[in-house]
C-alpha cells in the first residue's frame, strides 16, 4: 500500500482578489520507504501540497481530488481522527530559520508536547525519549532546556527534525528544511536526513527549490511549475537529462560541484514565475521557454511518457512506450 497518494489534487486559495489556484491537478504516489523530491520555484504550489496532506490549509481554501495517507482519505476524516493522524501518519520538518519553534517555550517542552499528545511514550520515559531524539539529531539532551533564540539556525533545524521524528511517523515531509542555512550546515542537515531515512526506512517527501539537493537525497523526482507536475522520473536521470525545458533550466541554475565550466557559467531563467491567478494560456511555461513554438501558446500538454519510468509535459517530448 502506498504511504501517500495524491489523486488529481487541486487547491484553490480564496483571497480578496478572487480565487487563486495554487495546485492544479497533481497526481503523486509515494511507496513505503521511497524518497520523492518535489522541486520548483517559490509559488509553484509545492508547499501548498505539504500543508494539504495534513489538512493544514487556511479555512475556506477549496480542496478537490483525493489525499490518501496510508490508504485513508484525509479529507473524509472526522476531527478526532485527523488529529490522531497528524504527526503519526505524516510529520512535517518545518523550516528552522523561520519562526517554526515557539519563542517563549523551551525546545524540549515543544518536543515533549507532541509525544504526550499522541502517547507514544508515557510517564517518566518522556524525558528520556526527548533526550534520545535530541542526541539522535546530533544535539545533547541538555539542549532540551534551551529556548529557540539560544540556538543557531542549524541547531534549530535539528530540533525540528527531532520534533518531526517524535511520534515515529510513517511519512516525513521535509518542507524546504535547508533553505535558509549556510552551505556547510545545509550539507550536515541533508546528511542527517539521509541517514535517518535509511536507518528507519522512512518514506520521505522532500520539498525544495534546489534541484541539486534532491538528486542525492531522493530516488524519484517531480518538478512542479504553476501548480502542476511538469516532469517526473528517477532523480539522477531527470537531473542529468531533463526532458522538460523548465527542468533543464532549473538544473542548469545550480553549478555542479567539481565541474568548473558550470560553476563559471550558471544558467539563469529569464522572467518571473507566473501569477497563479492569471496564468498564460496554453503551456503556462511558454512565455519563458527557450524552445517554445507556436503550438505552445494554445496547447496545454498533459504529462506523457518520455522514457523508462519518466513522464514530462512538453510538446517536444515524443510519446514513448513506458518501460
Amino acid at each position: 500500500m502506498s504511504v501517500l497518494e495524491l489523486r488529481d489534487l487541486r487547491v484553490t486559495y480564496r483571497t480578496e482578489g478572487g480565487p487563486v489556484p495554487a495546485v492544479r491537478g497533481v497526481n503523486l504516489t509515494i511507496e513505503s520507504g521511497d524518497t520523492v523530491g518535489l522541486a520548483g520555484e517559490s509559488g509553484c504550489g509545492k508547499s501548498t501540497i505539504a500543508a494539504a496532506v495534513l489538512r493544514l490549509l487556511p479555512k475556506g481554501t477549496q480542496v478537490e481530488g483525493t489525499v490518501l495517507l496510508n490508504g485513508e482519505d484525509v479529507y473524509a476524516m472526522k476531527p478526532g481522527r485527523l488529529r490522531a493522524v497528524r504527526w503519526t501518519g505524516a510529520a512535517i520538518v518545518f523550516q528552522g530559520a523561520l519562526h517554526s519553534l515557539n519563542p517563549v517555550r523551551r525546545v524540549g517542552d515543544q518536543i515533549e508536547e507532541a509525544i504526550r499528545l499522541h502517547r507514544t511514550v508515557t510517564g517518566a520515559a518522556v524525558g528520556a525519549r526527548v533526550a534520545e531524539l535530541l542526541e539522535r539529531v546530533g544535539l545533547q539532551g541538555a539542549h532540551a532546556e534551551r529556548y529557540p533564540h539560544q540556538m543557531s539556525g542549524g541547531q534549530r533545524q535539528r530540533v525540528l527534525i527531532a520534533l518531526a521524528l517524535a511520534c515515529e511517523p510513517t511519512l516525513l515531509i521535509a518542507d524546504e528544511p535547508t533553505t535558509a542555512l549556510d552551505v556547510m550546515v545545509q550539507a550536515q542537515v541533508l546528511a542527517l536526513l539521509e541517514e535517518l531515512q535509511r536507518e528507519r526506512g522512512l518514506s520521505l517527501l522532500f520539498i525544495t527549490h534546489d534541484l541539486s539537493v534532491l538528486t542525492s537525497t531522493c530516488r524519484r523526482l517531480a518538478v512542479m511549475y504553476a501548480g502542476r507536475i511538469v516532469e517526473e522520473g528517477p532523480s539522477v536521470d531527470v537531473f542529468a537529462r531533463p526532458d522538460h525545458p523548465y527542468s533543464a533550466a532549473l538544473a542548469a541554475a545550480f553549478p555542479t560541484i567539481g565541474d568548473s565550466a558550470s560553476r563559471m557559467n550558471p544558467q539563469g531563467l529569464a522572467g518571473d514565475p507566473p501569477d497563479p491567478s492569471a496564468l498564460p494560456g496554453g503551456c503556462p511555461f511558454h512565455p519563458r521557454c527557450a524552445r517554445a513554438v507556436d503550438e505552445c501558446a494554445t496547447n496545454d500538454v498533459a504529462l506523457r511518457v518520455s522514457g523508462p519510468g519518466r513522464r514530462a509535459a512538453c510538446v517536444h517530448v515524443k510519446e514513448a512506450a513506458d518501460g
Partner: protein, 321 residues
Amino acid sequence: MRASYVIRKLIGAVSTLAFVAVFNFFLFRVVNRNPVDSMFRGRNLTREQLDELTRKFNLDGSKWDQFVAYVRQLLRGDLGLSFRGNRPVVDVIAEALWPTVLLVGTSTLLAMIGITIGYRAGWKRGSRGDTVSTSLSMLTYSMPEFFIGMVMLGIFAASLGWFPVGGLEDPGSTATGLEQLLDQFHHMVLPALVLAIAYVGEYMIVARSAMIETLREDYLQLARAKGMRDDEVRRKHAVPNARLPVVSLSAINFGFVFSGAIAVESIFSWPGLGQATYLAVRGPDLPVLQGLFLLMSATVILANLIADLLYGVLDPRVMGR
C-alpha cells in the same frame, strides 16, 4: 532569571523615583513662591503669625535648606502638613487609600475579563463574535467615564433606587466587620461597574490586536500539524506570545489604582484618592498634592518594575537585551 537584568531594572526604578521626588519639590515651589501669603491673604494675621506658619510648612530659609529638610522628612516617611486642618499629609492620604484601592482594584480586576474576550475575538478574527465584541468595546472605550457614570447613576440609583447615589457607607452607619463591608460593597457596585465598563474595552482591544499579531506565526501551524486541538493551540502557543502588551497595560492600570479615579469618585462622592486630589487642587492644598503626586508616581514606577520583571519570566528573549 538573570540577576543582572533584575538589578538593572531595580536601579532604573529607584533612580526614576528619586528624580520624581526632586522634581516634585521644585514643581510646587515654582508654582507658588510663598503659598502661605496667598492662602491667608485677607485674614487679619500679624507678620509674626505668618512667619510662624511659614516655618511650620517648611517654607522658610533658602531653597537648599528647604530641600534638605524635605528630603529628610521624606526619608522618615513624613510628607509634611496639609494646609487644611493642620493634619499630616500622610493621614489625609491614608484615609483615602482604602476606598480607592477597594473601588479601582475591584473594577480593574473586573475589566480584565476584556483580556479573555480579546484573545478569543482575535483568534476568530472576522467572526460574528469578534465583530460584536470589538464594536461594543470601541463604543464603551470611547465613552467618557463621567458620561457612563451619569447614565448609570440616573438609571440604577435615581430612577430604580437599587443602589445608593454615592458615598462609601450609609451616612451615620455604625456597622462594623462583615456588615460594614457589605454596606461598602453595596455602595461600590455602581462606581465599580462604571470604571469596569470604561476600561474593559481597552483590555479587549489590546489583547485582540496582540493575538492577531501572532495568528500568522509558523509555530501555530506547527502546533496544529502536531495534532493539537484548536483551543489548545490558542492557549498554549498563541496566548503566551500575546501576553506582553497586555501585561504592560495591566501594569499601567494597576499603577492608577493608587491615583484613584477622579471623575467617577467625584460623581459618586467616593472618599478616595481621586476625590482627595480634586479637593487638594481646589484648595489648593499644595502639600497634599505633592504627597499624592509622589504616591502616584511611586505606584506607576513600581507597577512598571513588576511588569518588566514579568516580561523576563514570560518572554525569555527579553532578558538578553
